[in-house]
């Protein structure tokens, strides 16, 4: 991998992550998140992790975005949550402490691309040299996934199916299940509940951000 290109992609990743966290329009945040995943998949391809790159591009960048957009259209497009400054200032030292700890721990890690790193001395050498005669499969990741470590894969597949069933269990409306949809229009004591209507109308919800952009373009 060419190192300057690597660094540029990392800078793009950082910018996309900061914007995705900070932008008000949630659909824009999801678009930035998909771009973040796509550049991460480029980085995976750069270090010869082709299988991971393919999965990240298909599932991480594609399907995650679709799921996010579906959920945002089902709820509310604009992030109207008020800033909680007290919480931010209590969290920042915590994050700084975490990063400092990690930085201290990373001094014990091997250099980048070191062939003598301890992680490479283990069982994966056996996998690489034995895969072709054991399973007739040139792609070692596939033979690892479905043969040498297939119990791991069995567990992961079970997790995926369980996640789908859990989502069904949480969200499917059943008969006689009418406590939904009444609480949303509840004229309760809070103020921000009324500010967030359902946004099936594109014209109303789209007017404000584009008006800002148009003013910026005319100046």
């Amino acid at each position: 991998m060419i190192v300057p290109l690597d660094i540029i992609i990392f800078l793009v990743l950082i910018i996309a992550a900061v914007l995705a966290i900070n932008v008000k329009d949630l659909l824009a945040a999801v678009a930035l998140l998909a771009g973040y995943s796509l550049f991460a998949s480029l980085l995976f391809a750069g270090v010869n992790a082709v299988d991971v790159s393919l999965v990240e591009a298909a599932l991480g960048a594609g399907l995650t975005g679709v799921l996010f957009i579906g959920a945002i259209l089902a709820t509310s497009r604009h992030s109207t949550a008020k800033r909680n400054l007290r919480r931010r200032w209590t969290m920042l030292p915590l994050i700084a402490a975490f990063i400092g700890l990690m930085l201290f721990a990373s001094t014990g890690l091997p250099d980048r691309g070191d062939p003598e790193a301890p992680a490479h001395q283990g069982v994966s050498r056996t996998y690489l040299s034995q895969s072709l005669e054991d399973t007739e499969t040139p792609n070692v990741v596939t033979s690892l996934l479905a043969d040498y470590r297939s119990q791991d894969t069995l567990g992961e597949t079970l997790v995926i199916v369980t996640a789908a069933l859990a989502a069904m269990l949480v969200l499917v409306r059943r008969e006689g299940d009418d406590e939904d949809d009444t609480r949303g229009s509840d004229p309760g004591g809070d103020t921000s509940g009324e500010a967030r209507g359902t946004t099936d109308d594109e014209q109303e919800s789209g007017r404000d951000p584009y008006a800002d952009e148009r003013e910026g373009g005319r100046r």
Binding site: Q203, G206, R207, E213, R214, R218
Partner: protein, 135 residues
């Protein structure tokens, strides 16, 4: 052979760079989308055309390249079309050059003009004569 391939790929990369520059310096969404839809598709086409002249190309690679080329030629303009259509329905106005004095003179009626321009777009999108929504 390799020289021809390099020249064609270079021209294609020129178009991609130009479209990226246009994406950065163009003033509004419509001109940016125009740059992406036309110039970048042409650049991609030229890059793939140059790859066909590379000497290390074999049979399966040609098939894959053609498949990727057809996919991107179909999908890229469609995505831009959907994007521009959605933004037009949301009421994004195209960029126009206006003089500062005229702008100051018209400042009082800006909201009125915004509504006047906005309404035809909305009515066309929701119930106009060119409507093709089957629902």
């Amino acid at each position: 052979m390799t020289l021809i391939a390099d020249i064609i790929i270079g021209i294609g990369m020129f178009f991609i760079v130009v479209s990226t520059l246009a994406l950065l310096i163009m003033p509004d969404l419509y001109t940016r989308a125009h740059a992406v839809a036309k110039s970048e598709t042409l650049g991609l086409l030229l890059v793939f055309l140059g790859l066909f002249f590379r000497p290390e190309l074999d049979g399966p690679s040609v098939g894959r390249l053609v498949a990727v080329l057809v996919f991107s030629l179909v999908a890229n303009p469609t995505a831009v079309h959907a994007l521009v259509r959605a933004s037009s329905r949301s009421g994004a106005l195209p960029w126009t050059v206006i003089d500062q004095e005229i702008a100051d003179a018209e400042l009082g009626t800006a909201q009125e003009r915004y509504d006047a321009v906005d309404d035809p777009v909305v009515s066309e999108a929701t119930g106009g004569p060119s409507e093709e929504d089957p629902r």
